[in-house]
Amino acid sequence: MLAKLALQSLLDRKGSAMLSLLAMTVSVFVLLAVEHIRHQTKDNFSNTVSGVDLIVGARTGNINLLLYSVFRIGSPTNNIRWQTYENITSNKLVKWAIPISLGDSHKGYRVLGTTQDYFEYFSYGKKNRLEFDQGHQFDQLFDVVLGAEVANKLGYSLGDKVALAHGIATTSFSMHDDRPFTVVGILAATGTPVDQTLHVSLKGIEAIHIDWQHGVKVANTELTQSDLEKVDLQPKSITAFMLGLSSKMATFQVQRSINEYASEPVVAILPGVALSELWRMIGVLENTLLLVSILVFIAACLGVSSMLLASIRERRHEIQLLRIIGSPPYFLFLLIELEALLITLLGCLLGATLLMACLASLQGYLVAEYGIYIASNILTKHSGYLLMSIIMASIVVAIIPSLSGYRKARES
């Protein structure tokens, strides 16, 4: 009966109840969305690289090294000598090493020069290896393996020819178009920056830079494939490299020895540590967003409460009547709490449904356009807790009108 009374009384005040419900729905939507995306991006983010024990590059800030080696953001300050790479990886604690060479691009997507070990050892997420959607890894000089998004967005398929550009600007005029690459493999989507990368061999990178000095084409010798194979294409420098160690325990020891490497200033970072450092910087923004959405929610709670508070004056006769037929004053308290709770529950239901519908319909677009994967299932433990706190908070805020109803009931 209490529930029926609460529901009917809300229905009786459709106009104001609807507006309160709308405000509650919007605020629940925003709060859930921010919290969901926060956790999703954090997951995605910390999933960009896994199983790599150390990343080594020219001495620079930790985050800078992480940004250009893993996220392909920004550019390296300096390269490191091939000799350094060989010296460091000769350490017997090093199980595997992936050299990477950055600096070229194709239509805005970065080109990564590496070795076949990349496909063997690089992993992301919960130690997932890279998998081929089509084709295989590069083995010829001018073979290229495309990330899922590159192939998808640019419409490439196996066998297509791709000309790389020097530098990383989208509209670079200095094209390496005299030596095009052939697509031999397309990777399955990973939801990481790998999807936005073109992978070629280190030798391929060397080959297209013959005749180039300091970023400018200085000669135009017509070299054929067989000519090139005769040239020594051993790279003289690379951008960075990733290391897998034979024992996790050795990580700090190896890191120290690299950081003390005398003949060239290099630095080794632990990807997990650098990721969380980077996350902390981004986290400030996220926390601000969360704070704003909490404030929006509190405003909605206050809206519901003020609507109920205003209704108490109109309901003077109803309250008196309830008292006459024997209802104790706390019944009024419960009634008004229940009305607030009904609005909140309905708002949670609508907000969550709306969010799931939005995510489900935007999912394809986000993956295609930005390579961001956000799960549409928001029914996680986190959002469960969040919904619970939403309900608790609304109950607490509704104490104000409920108490007023209780007092009115006692007076009558």
């Binding site: 009966m1 029926k4 009374l5 009917q8 009384s9 009786d12 037929i325 209802s327």
Partner: protein, 229 residues
């Protein structure tokens, strides 16, 4: 005795200088159908407030159905009221957004007996006895005519089979014909259920329906107020 008042003095807390009731002694025998009249502002509704336990006298004793109200806790008083006293007022008898059946059932919510299935049948029996057409049972009470609303109010007051029925000018918002119809339904119902009926009004013309007729001024001795009607 259904009602016994002794040495009652009452003023509203907001107006301490204005004594509304001063009743040295007054009682009502069980089973009487009593009519108490008095002018507007004479304190009739206040008296009924004391009997229901919603108001407490500043001094003196209120006994209803043998129960001394000031020895009860607030909670017990609410339960006592729910179980033993039925009310009909001039207006605002019903929750406007609930239908007739739910309005009557709401009154069963707070009394001890809480057998819903059986109660719903009793409501229907009452509605039939009170000439409330079946097609009006399910619509919000605000959409009923005033006469129908007052009849639903009788059903509401009777559903818990109270021993005391209190009516506070229930007919003053009705026209003559409706008012007569109302009285002709109410009186036998109270008699059939062996209820004590206390009916207050400023309208002396209704007194013909009652066995006992009293003026409030006869037992309420407040000085300075016009005690005759």
């Amino acid at each position: 005795m259904a009602i016994e008042l002794a040495d009652i003095r009452f003023h509203y807390p907001s107006r301490a200088e204005h004594t509304v009731l001063n009743v040295p002694s007054w009682s009502l025998k069980t089973g009487t159908q009593a009519f108490v009249y008095g002018p507007s502002g004479g304190g009739k509704s206040t008296l009924l407030g004391l009997l229901s336990g919603l108001l407490s006298p500043n001094s003196g004793q209120v006994r209803v159905l043998g129960q001394c109200l000031d020895t009860l806790s607030n909670r017990q008083r609410d339960q006592f009221r729910a179980a033993n006293i039925g009310y009909v007022f001039q207006q605002f008898n019903l929750m406007p957004y609930l239908n007739a059946i739910d309005n009557v059932l709401l009154a069963t919510q707070f009394s001890q007996s809480n057998n819903r299935g059986g109660k719903e049948n009793e409501v229907k029996v009452l509605f039939n006895a009170l000439n409330i057409p079946e097609n009006e049972w399910q619509i919000p009470c605000r959409d009923l005519s005033v006469g129908q609303q007052q009849r639903v109010a009788i059903a509401r007051a009777l559903i818990n089979k109270p021993k005391l029925l209190i009516a506070d000018e229930p007919t003053s918002s009705l026209d003559q014909a409706n008012s007569d119809a109302f009285m002709k339904l109410l009186m036998p119902m109270a008699a059939d259920n062996n209820m004590t009926l206390l009916f207050v009004s400023h309208d002396h013309s209704l007194s013909s329906y009652f066995t006992s007729v009293e003026s409030l001024g006869d037992f309420n001795q407040v000085e300075g107020i016009n005690n005759a009607s």
